[in-house]
């Protein structure tokens, strides 16, 4: 019988990195030590521990990473709590890739890119950021605005410091919500910081973060003169099948798992406000 979408493959966790007090990044390969499948930045995968649960996570590593896939996962429910207490060597089930991903080889190619992320919202964007860094000549100016509650809640902080901030071809602007000892960077919420930085209107924006951040940042971008057609985001809704059939992630005539998770704001504007 041919491979069923709902029958998963096996993967094994080869590394677990503690990012923040409630976010860990898991490195996953197949049992043969190779990547389980290829993906486009912004696509997702269904991970599961049988008997505990199965859920959709964005693939945070770039497809240009030929060795493994990574998932940055915040502890917030049954499955994620289980994943947070497991050890390296644990096998998990994996199926995918699901969704459309960001149009890195079409609409985004040659563009000046502005990434705006809040908290764990960096996870799906990290895949795109590292992809465009690896194919630097195909993209224009790159700017990253990333904020979190505190210094300790910045996901991938080590990679940001050691790689992104040392990369002279990109600009990184970090911010945290409140003053903190040992932090000499910007303090304040992401929406305000974006307005302060007043990015060039020619940029294409890729944004992900908590709903409240998205709402105010989008309003701020529009005040600055950006249009809905310039701003992409990636959504999450409850999902079971991942292939547009179980009905959970339905918004209007779209299924987030299949038609999304990446939408432009003008596309979202055509859908009912129910997400």
């Amino acid at each position: 019988m041919s491979q069923e979408a709902l029958i998963p493959l096996l993967g094994v966790v080869t590394d677990i990195r503690i990012d923040t007090p409630d976010v860990k990044t898991f490195r996953v390969v197949g049992l043969d030590g190779k990547k389980v499948f290829e993906h486009v930045p912004g696509q997702c995968a269904m991970l599961s521990i049988p008997g505990v649960g199965e859920a959709m996570f964005s693939i945070t590593s770039s497809p240009t990473n030929t060795e493994y896939m990574e998932f940055s996962i915040k502890k917030c429910g049954c499955l994620t709590s289980w994943l947070h207490q497991m050890d390296v060597g644990q096998q998990i089930t994996i199926r995918g890739p699901y969704g459309n991903g960001f149009p890195v080889e079409t609409a985004l190619r040659g563009k000046d890119l502005l990434f705006i992320a809040g908290g764990i919202g960096l996870a799906p964007l990290r895949s795109v950021i590292n992809y465009v860094r690896d194919k630097r000549e195909n993209y224009g100016n790159i700017q990253i605005i990333y904020g979190s509650r505190s210094m300790d809640d910045l996901v991938d902080y080590k990679e940001i410091l050691d790689e992104w901030m040392r990369d002279e071809s990109i600009t990184v602007n970090l911010t945290i919500d409140r003053e903190q000892e040992g932090w000499d960077g910007h303090v304040g919420f992401v929406p305000n910081y974006v307005k302060e930085l007043s990015p060039d209107l020619g940029k294409t924006v890729l944004m992900c973060g908590p709903p409240i951040m998205i709402k105010f940042t989008l309003a701020g971008l529009k005040e600055l003169g950006f249009s809905d057609t310039q701003v992409y985001t990636t959504m999450e809704l409850r999902m079971k099948c991942g292939v547009g059939k179980c009905g959970r992630c339905n918004i209007g005539n779209k299924y987030v798992c299949k038609d999304g998770p990446v939408f432009r704001f003008d596309q979202l504007g055509e859908l009912p406000d129910e997400y």
């Binding site: 019988m1 029958i7 998963p8 008997g51 429910g77 059939k245 129910e274």
Partner: protein
């Protein structure tokens, strides 16, 4: 067209059951029709339709998807499927027959659902024309003719005979295997019956019901209607409408510890339930109004938008008969339609 004397109906069923599992509507102890596997002496129900739809044959209420064995840090995956047996469903009405083509658009769309596909391939549908449509029936609103049902084989039952016509290769294969029991027949009695049925259809209370006003670019307008609050006010969120509906196909996937391993199964779910969309960070459909709206928006607006205008309803009338608060798609469509004009 071929026919069979009704006196030979028992022998006809027995002959089918020799070759494949045969299911047909039979009255249960409560006098309600339900599909049952045929056994000697089973009597075909005379009810207009079964309480539960025929979708169970292709999309059962629960089914195993995959089995796991966990040992230490390792996991073993097994596909639990065995070869699907051939089966014949006799007595499917025109409305349920149409529902299969709607389910096909979901389960056979890429990526194909292999569980569903295997059942579709191994199942032969024998439909039975309606002669006494009821006041809850409105299949004609969706262009379905209950006197001319689709299916692999179509049948018409008169006072003395069962008339049969094969529509597909599968249907021809079934009838040719039964040729010893059948004789060539004149179509006249069938035509007469169809005309009589169509006369009844014209007089049904829902004869003029139409969902046409939902066909255009109305998504936001319908969604934003203030009528949803009032329409959904009494909804209990029991999900009966979704369970009896032949086209409702939302499902859940869950794991069950068998004591020897983990069985992952899927089961029917309902957008009417409060936890259908609930996530760790919240729920986009917080009240029954949003859940209620989702079900009707999907059937009247979202599904047609993705399927060349075909509505996700076949007018079988089960939800009209079964809803404990007497709310249904007809009332919803009629209430909202006023806003669209």
């Amino acid at each position: 067209m071929q026919k069979l004397s009704l006196e030979k109906l028992g022998g006809f069923f027995a002959a089918i059951a020799e070759k494949a599992a045969l299911y047909l509507p039979v009255d249960n102890a409560a006098g309600q029709a339900q599909y049952q596997r045929w056994s000697e002496g089973a009597v075909l129900s005379s009810a207009l339709n079964t309480v539960r739809s025929a979708k169970d044959f292709f999309f059962p209420q629960t089914e195993n998807l995959v089995d796991f064995k966990l040992k230490g840090k390792t996991i073993e995956i097994t596909d639990p499927r065995t070869e699907q047996e051939d089966f014949v469903v006799f007595g499917v009405r025109a409305c349920d027959a149409r529902s299969f083509s709607i389910l096909d658009k979901v389960f056979l769309a890429d990526p194909v659902d292999g569980y569903y596909k295997a059942r579709r391939e191994h199942g032969t549908i024998v439909t039975l024309a309606c002669t006494e449509p009821e006041e809850t029936c409105f299949c004609q609103s969706f262009g379905i003719d209950p006197a001319e049902p689709a299916g692999d084989v179509s049948c018409w039952k008169t006072g003395t005979d069962l008339f049969l016509r094969a529509n597909t290769e599968k249907g021809e294969a079934l009838l040719s295997s039964l040729s010893a029991l059948l004789e060539e027949a004149d179509e006249a009695p069938v035509r007469a019956q169809q005309e009589a049925t169509r006369e009844i259809l014209k007089k049904l209370p829902l004869a003029a019901f139409t969902t046409e006003s939902f066909g255009g670019d109305v998504l936001k307008k319908v969604f934003d209607s203030e009528k949803w609050a009032e329409l959904s006010q009494s909804c209990l969120g029991c999900g009966t409408c979704t369970f009896v509906c032949p086209t409702c196909q939302c499902y859940d996937i869950r794991d069950f510890d068998t004591g020897h391993g983990v069985r992952r199964f899927r089961c029917w779910d309902s957008c009417m339930y409060s936890d259908f969309t609930r996530m760790a960070h919240g729920n986009p459909r917080l009240t029954q109004k949003e859940r209620f709206r989702q079900r009707f928006m999907h059937k009247l607006v979202y599904f047609p938008a993705n399927n060349n205008g075909e509505y996700g309803c076949v007018g079988c009338g089960r939800c009209l008969a079964k809803c404990p608060i007497h709310m249904n798609i007809v009332k919803v469509a009629k209430t909202l339609e006023g806003e669209l004009k």
